[in-house]
């Protein structure tokens, strides 16, 4: 390339020597925002009327032009800049180019094709990869929180490497797995398409609270540094061509490609420090001992008995024994700040005919809970080869390895630490020789998850005839997950224990497509048909052994055969899906009107055998009003663009399994002294099982004003989810116990806005971008099985958190006892006039002064399940974010905030803490559930006549009334919050300085992540709740982290 430039230059020089005196001009062309050099900027001389040169990889140029010339610097991605040489004495200068800011010219991906925003008919949002840098996160979706209107992201767990909850346009499935506080909303993450490979974040591993598998999200294996862009496709028209699995939305992640003719090597490192956020308050040491003793003296009936009981409790009376004479901060033992780092190196280069990229990344984050953490090693490469315009071949190889340590918990919760850190502070810390099992297993056990993920894609297309292209995309994704848990003998009653889980998933995907484009002067017609095939195989095995000879020798397996458990798990699957689709896109009158039609047929092995191919049509249109003649007036003055678009379409997602549709054979015991396999009578096969269907309508107006200073998208949508999977019990005179059907429907509707302001004029030296994003969502349950209007799913396990489904209402309501206050005296308790009995619990305990007063809804003077009221909504009404980006020369300041409004949270953790006074002698010998909450901030009932906000926590002989049961309105709180996600301060060194060290650009930055949440919630973090809205005691707190980062490009 250089050779050519020199050649051209010399020709120019030679010709211009005759004309007039030439001067040498040199300098740099840099991005006005990032201050990085821009390569391949062509430099045009206006006097000569032709290109005189281009910049090299560092943005450096040197050209020879006539005196007094005017130079034009142009590049596709940037606005043209002009620089006049008239009056310039120094002919060495730096030119700053501004990125094109017209949102319409952005390129987005929809339905396997890239198109400009101007011709886009569906609803989608592109997030540029540059917005995902500067902040090391284990899962890149954390960075998208508050950036896409209508995409609700909640960080339910601070566990590094875990999945974040992602919902596009509200709930898509209302079924819960697990019971009560363990209830877990069926995950409905969007379909991820990573460099053309479909990645399912919902099924690869287990998410529940008692999950057997690993907890590493496949999205956590993608290094954010390697991401070029993320496209979020929201409505049915945008996702139409991903139809067979696109009903929950589609997120397309594209990694970086080689673009520069000269190879570029970029190195990025983040050094970050995770700190422990606010934890729960506890009483310690002598305060705890006196609180317990006073409580016993006061409430244990008579003083002599109380003294006896205290004497009998060694924990309380033996205060001179060093084992019981401590003030240990257990949370401090388990929660510690950590120092972590990431490294990423990216080499890329090439041009249109051939380009390549290799990205290697290392990420290591030690969790703030001891013995937890996440590390990621990835190597990702791609290359593209295009010898002629007619043929293109590209290949992508990506190998990712993730390792997660989850301590004594799982990927979601930290039950072991929660138990152990709730030990009484009177116990000695584990550094001493006195330890107990829970603490040991949290600190010394092994609980490693490993995921290896290999992806390969081969993609080629060939132009058969003019306008007709044939293409094929083939990808294979192989992932293995392993979980390896070991509990040493000393932590498990002298019986060492191990659990291994091993899963393999292979996904083969092939898409063959014929694509035809025809230009008719002002109109363009594009049509394509394709067929796709998806084959997925999954099998997991698990084994559990106890009783090893010792902790070092994990074998032999036959040592205690009776307690060995293992085998293939019942969640194995073997899925085939196939689809055929056609699309027609009309682009009329110079992109004034755009109409898209899509139609696809789908079949999946997880639907019933009697179900035909599912047809999914979609239609979408767009009207670019600014191109109309009647709008010319506005278009000339202030209007950049104004367009209307609307869409209607259907999508499906297969929800059941092959077993739901066809039944299952299981081991059924002995017959004639032989082990036999028989039919499982647990669940009746449903041969009519169909996939869940989403029908979406959306309409939007988009406009830009004052040359990019205001860009806005306002959108409304209606999303109807039908045929949701539902498990129905069968009457007990049937052979089968239950059946799965598709009889539940719900609707989400709402409004989204995305506003971008640039308050300062483009001439200002300071540039400021302000983005406001929000989405209002309402959901309504519209159908239940068997024509029922209402269905209460009882919490069979704990009889605490029931779930009520009711037509016409939001789908996630709480069912709670209505707390009205506290009985000031015994006489305040209502008396049943017929029997003379006071108001009592279902178990028969009469209420008295200091007890909570829960509304007796049906007036029978008995508090039972029929007195529960339906209140609240666990799903947020409104979510969104605010982003501000300030830049002055090389300095930039970027802040991201996100908010969630109008959701209710049950503070079950506070309930549990208040309950801690229910056993002054310490539960489990003080080993767990024995921390005491400092009560000075709360208004408790203390003596007869007190009118107080909270019931009496001290009367431990009346705990059967359960005054602090979590399922009451007392503990329902507003879970709205405004969170400061991150603030980044960055500095780009001027090229003049870095050039000396042959560095083309260098950038340093500091970032604070998860800095603060504004909220009226009384617990530590309103975001750290389960998807069903319960704040558990054993959640993994989200750390606050501080990062220093460096990015160097050679």
């Amino acid at each position: 390339m250089k050779k050519y430039i020199i050649a051209i230059l010399s020709v120019i020089l030679a010709t211009s020597v005759y004309a007039q005196k030439n001067v040498d001009v040199s300098g740099f062309v840099q991005d006005g925002e990032t201050r990085r050099g821009i390569s391949n900027v062509s430099i045009l001389s206006t006097k000569l009327g032709k290109a005189v040169g281009a910049t090299d990889k560092s943005g450096y140029f040197k050209v020879s032009v006539p005196e007094g010339d005017e130079l034009e610097f142009s590049n596709l991605e940037y606005n043209v800049a002009k620089e006049s040489l008239v009056g310039k004495k120094l002919l060495v200068f730096t030119v700053y180019l501004e990125k094109k800011q017209n949102a319409l010219e952005e390129v987005v991906v929809q339905g396997y094709t890239s198109r400009t925003r101007e011709t886009m008919t569906g609803s989608s949002v592109r997030i540029d990869g540059s917005q995902l840098q500067d902040n090391p996160v284990s899962n890149v979706m954390q960075m998208l929180q508050g950036k896409v209107a209508g995409m609700n992201i909640q960080l339910n767990s601070g566990q590094p490497g875990s999945r974040t909850s992602v919902m596009i346009r509200g709930l898509s499935n209302i079924s819960m797995s697990g019971s009560g506080v363990d209830g877990f909303l069926t995950p409905t993450s969007p379909l991820y398409v990573v460099d053309g490979v479909q990645v399912d974040d919902n099924t690869d591993f287990e998410y529940g609270f008692n999950s057997g598998g690993t907890g590493i999200s496949p999205i956590s294996l993608i290094p954010p540094e390697d991401i070029e862009s993320i496209d979020v496709l929201k409505d049915a028209a945008a996702t139409a061509l991903y139809g067979s699995r696109g009903a929950y939305g589609v997120i397309i992640i594209t990694t970086k490609r080689g673009k520069s003719k000269v190879p570029i090597i970029q190195y990025t490192t983040n050094q970050f420090f995770n700190t422990v956020p606010n934890l729960r308050d506890v009483l310690g040491g002598v305060n705890e001992r006196y609180a317990r003793i006073n409580q016993i003296m006061e409430y244990n009936g008579d003083i002599w008995e109380a003294r006896d009981d205290i004497q009998d409790s060694q924990l309380l009376s033996d205060s001179l024994n060093p084992y019981f004479n401590n003030s240990t901060n257990w949370q401090g033992v388990f929660y510690k700040p950590t120092y972590n780092q990431t490294h990423n190196i990216n080499a890329s280069g090439g041009d249109v005919t051939f380009n390549y990229k290799i990205n290697g990344s290392y990420y290591n984050e030690k969790g703030i809970i001891q013995n937890t953490g996440f590390s990621r090693y990835t190597l990702n490469m791609n290359s593209e080869y295009r010898p002629t315009e007619r043929f293109r071949l590209s290949g992508i190889m990506s190998g990712n390895f993730g390792k997660q340590k989850t301590g004594s918990g799982n990927s979601v919760t930290q039950g072991g630490v929660a138990a152990a850190s709730s030990a009484t502070s009177l116990f000695p810390s584990p550094s001493s020789s006195f330890v107990n099992g829970d603490i040991l297993s949290a600190l010394t056990g092994r609980n490693d998850d490993r995921t290896t993920d290999l992806r390969a894609t081969l993609d080629f297309d060939f132009e058969v005839l003019k306008g007709l292209r044939a293409s094929n995309n083939f990808s294979y994704n192989y992932a293995t997950t392993r979980k390896d848990v070991f509990t040493p003998a000393v932590a498990n009653n002298n019986n060492s224990k191990s659990y291994n889980h091993d899963g393999q998933r292979g996904t083969l995907y092939n898409l063959t497509r014929l694509n035809y484009i025809k230009d008719f002067n002002r109109h363009t017609v594009m049509a394509y048909v394709f067929s796709e095939l998806n084959m997925t195989e999954f099998q997991a095995k698990a084994q559990q052994k106890t009783g090893y000879p010792n902790d070092q020798y994990e074998g032999p397996f036959g040592f205690n055969g009776g307690s060995a458990l293992g085998g293939v798990l019942n969640n194995m699957s073997d899925v085939r899906t196939a689809g055929f689709a056609g699309a027609l896109s009309l682009n009329l009158f110079d992109k004034r009107y755009i109409v898209d039609f899509n139609y696809r047929f789908d079949k999946s092995s997880s639907v019933g055998p009697d179900v035909p191919w599912v047809k999914n049509p979609a239609i979408a249109a767009r009207w670019n009003l600014e191109k109309e003649s009647f709008m010319e007036n506005f278009a000339d003055n202030f209007l950049d663009y104004l367009s209307l678009r609307g869409s209607w379409g259907k999508n499906i997602v297969p929800t059941g399994t092959v077993f739901d549709a066809n039944g299952r054979y299981i081991y059924s015991g002995y017959f004639n002294n032989n082990q036999t396999i028989g039919f499982s009578w647990g669940q009746m096969p449903n041969t009519q099982l169909i996939p869940s269907t989403t029908t979406q309508m959306s309409g939007a107006v988009e406009f830009g004003l004052y040359e990019g200073r205001v860009n806005a998208t306002l959108e409304t949508y209606y999303k109807q989810v039908d045929n949701m999977l539902w498990e129905k019990p069968l009457a007990n005179h049937n052979a089968f116990e239950k059946i799965k059907t598709n009889e539940v429907s719900m609707v989400n509707y709402g409004y989204e806005f995305n506003l971008l302001f640039r308050p300062l004029p483009s001439s200002s030296k300071v540039s400021w971008d302000l983005t406001l994003i929000g989405a209002w969502n309402d959901d309504v349950l519209t159908m239940l099985p068997d024509g029922n209007r209402e269905f209460m799913k009882y919490d069979d396990q704990y009889n605490t958190f029931h779930t009520l489904y009711r037509l016409g209402r939001n789908s996630m309501s709480f069912v709670l006892f209505d707390y009205r206050g506290t009985f000031a005296t015994d006489g305040d308790v209502p008396v049943n006039p017929a029997t003379g009995e006071p108001y009592k619990t279902a178990e028969g305990y009469y209420f008295q002064g200091g007890d909570p007063y829960w509304t007796d809804l049906n007036g029978d003077y008995i508090l039972d399940n029929s007195d529960m009221v339906v209140v609240g909504n666990a799903q947020p009404k409104m979510t969104g974010g605010i982003n501000t980006f300030l830049r002055y020369k090389g300095i930039s300041l970027n802040a991201q905030l996100s908010y969630t409004y109008g959701r209710d949270v049950i503070n079950a953790a506070l309930a549990k803490q208040m309950e801690s006074y229910g056993s002054p002698f310490g539960r489990y010998g003080g080993r767990k559930e024995s921390t005491l909450l400092p009560l000075d901030r709360y208004d408790f009932w203390r003596q007869s006549g007190d009118v107080s906000a909270l019931p009496n926590p001290f009367d431990f002989r009346r705990t059967a009334v359960r005054p602090f049961r979590a399922n009451q309105t007392l503990f329902m709180e507003d879970g709205s919050y405004l969170k400061v996600n991150y603030i980044t301060l960055g500095y780009n060194f001027p090229r003049e300085w870095t050039q000396k060290y042959s560095v083309t650009s260098m950038r340093v930055y500091v970032t604070g992540n998860n800095l603060y949440s504004f909220s009226s919630y009384s617990g530590p973090n309103p975001e750290l709740v389960t998807s069903a809205g319960y704040d558990r005691t054993d959640g993994y707190p989200t750390p606050r982290s501080y990062t220093v980062g460096l990015s160097v490009q050679f």
Binding site: T716, Y751, G827
Partner: protein, 323 residues
């Protein structure tokens, strides 16, 4: 122009959203077809308050529901105004603890209101037969009694449960639930255990509100009560103004009825839902051993009045003398 256009757009989108919402099911109370009375025939004993709870299964209905007794008639279809008329019934307004120090204190916790005798809880569906009901007012077994319908409704629907049966049983003003003679009490003549050789008589002698205890020998002469020398007379039952006859032939208390006042609230006067009176004495038996003897008397009296309870040792009187 642009503003107008924009307004128009907003209007269209709102209208669109509204028209979609129009077809949503309303948030109505569910009214399940599975709801039912689990008890269809009620046989309350008259003269005492009887409450039937947990007699209705609401299925998957939204709670609370509203209940109403809609048509009461006799078994052969004739009107039964006696079940619709209001009668004065005694209700509790305060909490009975068993610690009350006077009759007035107890009376302050009770009140008399006008109620129909057979009543259904407005939202709970519990059925109550008030204690005022007696066999003079209502037909009692062996008459086939009454038939009534219950209307159950909520904003989700309305349903009638027809032909539920009410068969009142004639009053039992008192009940004796086993008598315990403890300590191996001996007869004074044969010196054999008295176990089982005793009768108890309940006599309603007036319309006041008191209870009197007497113990009789086989010849119907009273045994002086001071022979029961270890008896805790003050806490015999929840009564007041305890007074012995001058010859100790009887002891009388002023009480409130029924006895016990609230059978389900355990107090020091009750055992297993009954009042529990205990008459005890001791004597020195063979070998100089002091032995304790007692008559334990679990009972209930539902009808107000001056009751006289007589323990009659029809065979022989107990032996009180020391050996």
């Amino acid at each position: 122009m642009k503003r107008i256009l924009y307004l128009l757009l907003v209007c269209i989108s709102v209208a669109l959203a509204y028209s979609c919402k129009k077809n949503f099911p309303q948030d109505l109370n569910a009214f399940s077809l599975d709801m039912n009375f689990t008890q269809k025939e009620y046989q309350p004993t008259l003269g005492r308050s009887t409450v039937y709870q947990g007699n209705f299964n609401s299925g998957e209905s939204s709670l609370p529901l509203s209940f109403r007794i809609s048509a009461v008639r006799t078994f052969d279809g004739k009107p039964a105004p006696e079940l619709l008329k209001l009668f004065p019934v005694s209700i509790w307004t305060g909490r009975y603890t068993g610690e009350e120090k006077s009759l007035e204190e107890i009376r302050a916790k009770r009140d008399t209101v006008m109620r129909p005798l057979w009543e259904i809880g407005e939202h709970s569906g519990t059925l109550t037969m008030w204690e005022t009901a007696n066999s003079n007012i209502l037909k009692v077994f062996p008459d086939s009694g009454y038939v009534f319908d219950v209307e159950v409704q909520s904003s989700g629907g309305r349903r009638y449960f027809r032909d539920l049966k009410l068969k009142p049983q004639i009053e039992e003003p008192y009940s004796l639930n086993g008598l315990i003679i403890s300590g191996g009490m001996l007869g004074e003549e044969t010196r054999t255990p008295l176990e089982g050789r005793i009768n108890v008589w309940f006599n309603r002698v007036g319309d006041g509100s008191s209870i009197t205890f007497k113990v009789l020998r086989p010849d119907l002469t009273p045994i002086p009560l001071n022979k029961f020398n270890t008896t805790d007379w003050e806490n015999m039952l929840h009564g007041f103004n305890m007074r012995f006859a001058p010859d100790y032939s009887s002891v009388t208390y002023d009480v409130e009825y029924p006895i016990p006042l609230v059978s389900t609230i355990p107090t020091k006067y009750t055992a297993n839902g009954n009042a529990y009176a205990l008459f005890t004495f001791d004597r020195i038996s063979y070998g100089g051993i002091r032995s304790d003897y007692g008559i334990g008397f679990p009972f209930s009296i539902y009808q107000r009045g001056d009751w006289e309870v007589i323990f009659y040792f029809y065979d022989e009187a107990p032996l009180f003398e020391n050996d």
